[in-house]
């Protein structure tokens, strides 16, 4: 029930923040309407990185506590991560085309880092699908998530330097190009979008986690069922010490 309330609140928040960002806040003086993509691009990128962090931390937590619930959190966060980094890249491309004239700007560290983040977490999800045993899957996935998280800051550094260590950036980063007509309104609209998207993220996370847990319970039920089936098969075919005590409480 609480989750449902969170869902409704998140939906309303996203709608309100979107209406504000699209129709109320004036266009940027420099970039015009194209700047409005920032209102979805920035929150997507933030949630992509947040999800990556949650995946890594939940994975480490699993390795420590050996609790499969933490693994379910890691899985949910990784799925969020793939979705939101994909959104961030899409938004970035839609922004880059009108402003820079190209869809893909190699020299932009954020775009390139985000693309690698997407590749890392897509690999993570694919990897999980190919392993069956729950604990083995959880442990190996946690290691993959850990390396991915350790990689991200290095990726960011290296791409940042890549543009040239000594010249300033040849093409301005998005925030340097921005000249909002109404700065405070712009900041508030962006923060509102960030908050609304984060609420939506939290709701999706909870639902995805619930799904993972119920799926796990079904799996576990299947495992116990197979175990009982094996026991029945074995006891019905052989007269045994243990069979004689069957029916004991």
């Amino acid at each position: 029930m609480k989750t449902r309330i969170l869902g409704v609140v998140a939906l309303l928040a996203v709608l309100a923040a979107a209406a504000n960002a699209l129709f109320v806040v004036p266009a940027d003086l420099n970039q015009g309407d194209a700047q409005r993509i920032m209102y979805v691009h920035v929150p997507s990128a933030w949630l992509g990185y947040l999800s990556g962090g949650v995946t890594a931390l939940a994975g480490i937590g699993y390795l420590w506590k050996r609790d499969l619930r933490l693994d379910a959190i890691a899985l949910s966060a990784a799925e969020m991560g793939v979705m939101f980094t994909a959104f961030a890249i899409w938004g970035g491309m839609m922004w880059a085309r009108p402003i820079w004239g190209v869809f893909w700007q190699w020299e932009d560290p954020r775009l390139t880092t985000t693309a690698l983040l997407l590749a890392l977490y897509a690999g993570y999800l694919l990897f999980r699908r190919l392993t069956d045993d729950p604990h083995r899957r959880a442990a190996r996935a946690a290691v993959v998530g850990l390396v991915a998280a350790a990689d991200i800051p290095i990726v960011h550094f290296s791409v940042e330097w890549w543009r040239g260590l000594h010249q300033g950036p040849t093409i301005g980063s998005p925030d340097k190009l921005l000249t909002p007509a109404a700065p405070s309104q712009f900041v508030i609209a962006l923060l509102a979008m960030l908050g609304a998207f984060t609420l939506a993220w939290a709701w999706l996370m909870i639902r995805r986690y619930q799904l993972a847990r119920i799926q796990w319970q079904l799996e576990e039920h299947g495992r116990l069922g197979r175990l009982s089936a094996a026991r029945r098969a074995a006891t019905s075919t052989s007269a045994s010490v243990q069979a004689s005590t069957e029916g004991a409480p």
């Binding site: 989750t3 069956d132 083995r136 619930q210 079904l218 094996a230 026991r231 074995a234 075919t237 005590t245």
Partner: protein, 254 residues
């Protein structure tokens, strides 16, 4: 170098209440089938016991769980009172396992394989121990040949030699007689005696029940992943609860 103190109190001493092996409803599933469906047994220290039963009875799975090579899906297993899942590193110091696969490196010679094992086991005296061990298992003449050219029986002898380099308190043998000639089988018998005299507990899974039975203190029969019968001394079933596996209650949360 080995940090283990070998515990070799007499098996009947009242001061040794902790069994060498204790399992509780230990089970392991592989995909769709249960290799081990819940076995509860205990083995006294210093005993030589055998696991018998047809192929697929779960003998290998049980030994692999005790050797920390496999995590149980359900249940628990203790070696010298130590949980194999929680503290595998402590269990590994106590256990020596002869697996079905010999785990040798084909491109190394017999000597090199054993010297590697000796280093891994923390033996400082490898230079003396390795040739002696090779002689023990009848491979002195093949010491400097690469394992790739070995027959299955020779590989098994070499794997037995690796086992001799360890100083275990629990020895687990999975089909030690497989691929061995009469001479090799006699070697296994000699080694079993040697471990028993050294105070180690030995568990042997074997098809050659007749061959082992004269030597063994006790035996347990597995079938279909379950313990169905035990006999002799030193090994026994510890939990009869078989009818308890009701299906898990599936929970639907809000």
């Amino acid at each position: 170098m080995p940090q283990t103190t070998i515990y070799s109190a007499p098996p009947n001493s009242p001061l040794v209440p902790i069994p060498a092996v204790a399992t509780h409803e230990v089970a392991r599933l592989f995909g769709g089938s249960a290799a081990l469906a819940g076995v509860s047994l205990s083995v006294e220290r210093g005993r030589l016991v055998t696991l018998v039963g047809p192929n697929g009875a779960g003998k290998t799975t049980l030994l692999r769980i005790l050797a920390t090579s496999l995590r149980p899906t359900f249940g628990a297993a203790l070696v010298d009172g130590i949980d194999v899942v929680a503290r595998p590193e402590l269990v590994r110091r106590r256990v020596a396992f002869l697996a079905h696969a010999t785990g040798l490196y084909d491109d190394l010679t017999a000597t090199e394989n054993l010297r590697f094992a000796a280093t891994m086991l923390g033996r400082a005296d490898a230079a003396d121990a390795v040739p002696a061990t090779l002689a023990d298992v009848g491979l002195a003449a093949d010491a400097d040949r690469r394992v790739r050219g070995f027959s299955a029986g020779m590989r098994r002898r070499l794997a037995l030699g690796r086992l001799l380099l360890a100083e275990p308190s629990l020895v687990l043998l999975d089909e030690p007689h497989a691929a061995l000639d009469a001479d090799g089988m006699a070697l296994v018998d000699r080694l079993l005696e040697r471990w028993r005299e050294g105070g180690a507990t030995v568990m042997v899974a074997s098809h050659h029940a007749d061959r082992i039975m004269d030597l063994a203190d006790g035996w347990a029969r597995l079938d279909g992943g379950l313990l169905v019968e035990t006999g002799g001394r030193g090994i026994g079933a510890t939990a009869p609860a078989l009818a308890r596996t009701a299906p898990a209650t599936a929970v639907a949360d809000r």
